[in-house]
Amino acid sequence: MEVTLNVKRFDPESNDKNVHFQEYNLEVEDHCTVLDALVKVREEVDGSLALRCSCRASICGSCSMRVNGHAKLVCKTKIRDVANNDNQVTVEPMNNMPVVKDLVTDMKPFWDKIRAIQPWLQPEGEVPEREYIAPNETMQHLTGVMSCIMCGACVSDCTALEVDENFIGPAALAKAYRFVADPRDDASTSRLKMYGESGGIWDCTRCMECIQVCPKGVAPMERIMNLRDKAIEAGFSNNNGARHTEAFIELVKHSGRLDELRLPIKTFGMFNFPALIGLLPVGLRAIRRGKMPPIIHKAIPGADKVRRIFEKVEGKK
């Protein structure tokens, strides 16, 4: 098939340091991957194109790039699955990290964040003579999160990182969960405290980009939600994130549906006057436009039945 690769180019050594798109038209086999096509460009058309790859079997995690706007391992992505009706494919470097050249990004910020979560086992007691033994069944639930190949796809497409580079990000937090949930690790309390600080678990927007783009099914966001639950259970609930989750659940339990007026008040705390005063302009604008949620909140018919479900299922947990 004939394809047009529309590749984002950047050469820091060029005179104008201009970021631009360059089109490459080439003939490729139908089963060809985006990586095959890029390598063909580099070898046969334009030797100046920079890209990174190694195993070509979606194991090493070297070739993450954005294909048509979303991060993918290009060795795992067939051209025919992503080409549009005009057989065009757009390829860009990963987002949320500096570009070294063309499609090659600098992974330093990625690795710095992985290191920041202390990605090593912190067991209790004396170091054993041989390995730490854990029964199979206590580790099995971690196989998903241990499949991470550190490709950076989730970090590239993280919408929270896009507005705040201090956010620790999905890959590091998935790794953090891996240690919190490891039966051999004894530092979960101090870990959960650390992960709950600014830039941590509560800054995730739950947008699911990381779940969607992860080529290995790690589902980082699910792990972040697990960490939130564990943090609350461990008593780290004196923050807006934890209060928001707990208030939401309490309000739905009470009336079967959300009371939007009371949710922010409960989240900030009834006596957190600076935060509540900050809500005033928004509230006043809403009142002026007749957009204020009702002051008297009506429960759904059968709210008692919903409450009963809460009691039964919360008891089971």
Binding site: D164, W202, R206, M208, R257, L258, K291, P294
Partner: protein, 294 residues
């Protein structure tokens, strides 16, 4: 076309303009609705953070109620839709789990058989009404106007739970509706990103920065308005746009319309009855252009 209508919390709370707009547009299109008054909140992904089984049980309860009504469910909120779709998939993928959930529901005399269909109004317009038929209802095409789509995360990810394999048309359904209404689609990268609402009370600075990015990007590309099928996105993109403008020290003034509002306008319906006067960012200029451009 008859649906069990699941309005969600926000269309009767922070976005009270959405509910009447959705109902009157459905009426015009011959979509019959029976409101699910006794259905609970979906949990919106927040409740699921703490207890996924509880969220799934609440949604299974809603599904069982719809099965008893013998109707598919219609949602008007991306977050409700996505949360229900995810619950639906988890229950469908694991019969033993569904049996346990049904055990909890049995006390209320309910049983979820696993056959419910849950569809957002957007999907109903494209798949059940059909764009060709929708076109016949357009009396005031929105020619000359540029509209930016904004989906809301839960209507676009994860694709596996949202039926994108069986319905690939869902991926660009909003753009196709905008086109049928006669307006020009403003393509911009932010259309499938997060509006920032889920972290509004947790990290307002980041949340508002997202509003600023999306509205300013769309504006720069010439958008006259943005349309969203998600009232939570609307709360942030509309309600916190003044803060976003202040954060960037600029003016934005991009009207944010609910999906049924924009459909209704193209069908010649009265803006006020659809609550277009109840937005934080004024829709006046946009509305005046419909009359002129059409």
């Amino acid at each position: 076309m008859k649906y069990a209508f699941f309005p969600g919390c926000v269309s009767r709370g922070g976005c009270p303009e959405l509910y009447p707009a959705a109902v009157s547009v459905c009426e015009r299109l011959g979509i019959e609705l029976e409101v699910m008054e006794g259905a609970s909140c979906t949990g919106a992904g927040v409740l699921q953070e703490k207890n996924q089984r509880l969220g799934d049980t609440l949604n299974a309860r809603t599904f069982a109620m719809a099965e008893a009504m013998d109707m598919p469910i219609m949602t008007i909120c991306s977050t409700c839709q996505g949360t229900m779709s995810q619950a639906h998939k988890r229950l469908a993928d694991d019969p033993a789990y569904m049996a346990e959930v049904n055990e909890t529901l049995a006390e209320e005399g309910l049983e979820y058989k696993g056959e419910v269909i849950v569809k957002h109004l957007l999907w109903i317009l494209v798949e059940d009404v059909g764009l060709e038929k929708l076109k016949n209802y357009i009396t005031t095409p929105l020619g000359g106007l540029k509209i930016a789509p904004f989906y809301g995360c839960y209507l676009i990810r994860p694709t596996g739970a949202l039926g994108f394999d069986e319905h690939p048309e869902r991926e660009d359904s909003l753009e196709r509706v905008i086109e049928i209404l006669g307006a020009e689609v403003v393509e911009f990268a932010g259309k499938t990103k997060c509006c920032g609402f889920p972290i509004l009370t947790i990290n307002e600075k980041n949340s508002v920065a997202m509003v600023a990015n999306h509205t300013l990007d769309a504006k720069e590309l010439g958008a006259d308005a943005m349309v969203t099928p998600c009232p939570l996105c609307h709360l942030n993109l509309d309600g916190f746009q003044p803060k976003a403008a202040a954060q960037r020290r600029t003016t934005i003034d991009l009207p944010i319309l609910h999906l049924p509002q924009v459909v209704g306008l193209a069908m010649g319906m009265d803006p006020k009855s659809m609550g277009l006067n109840r937005h934080i960012i004024s829709t006046k200029k946009f509305l005046s252009r419909i009359a002129v451009e059409a």
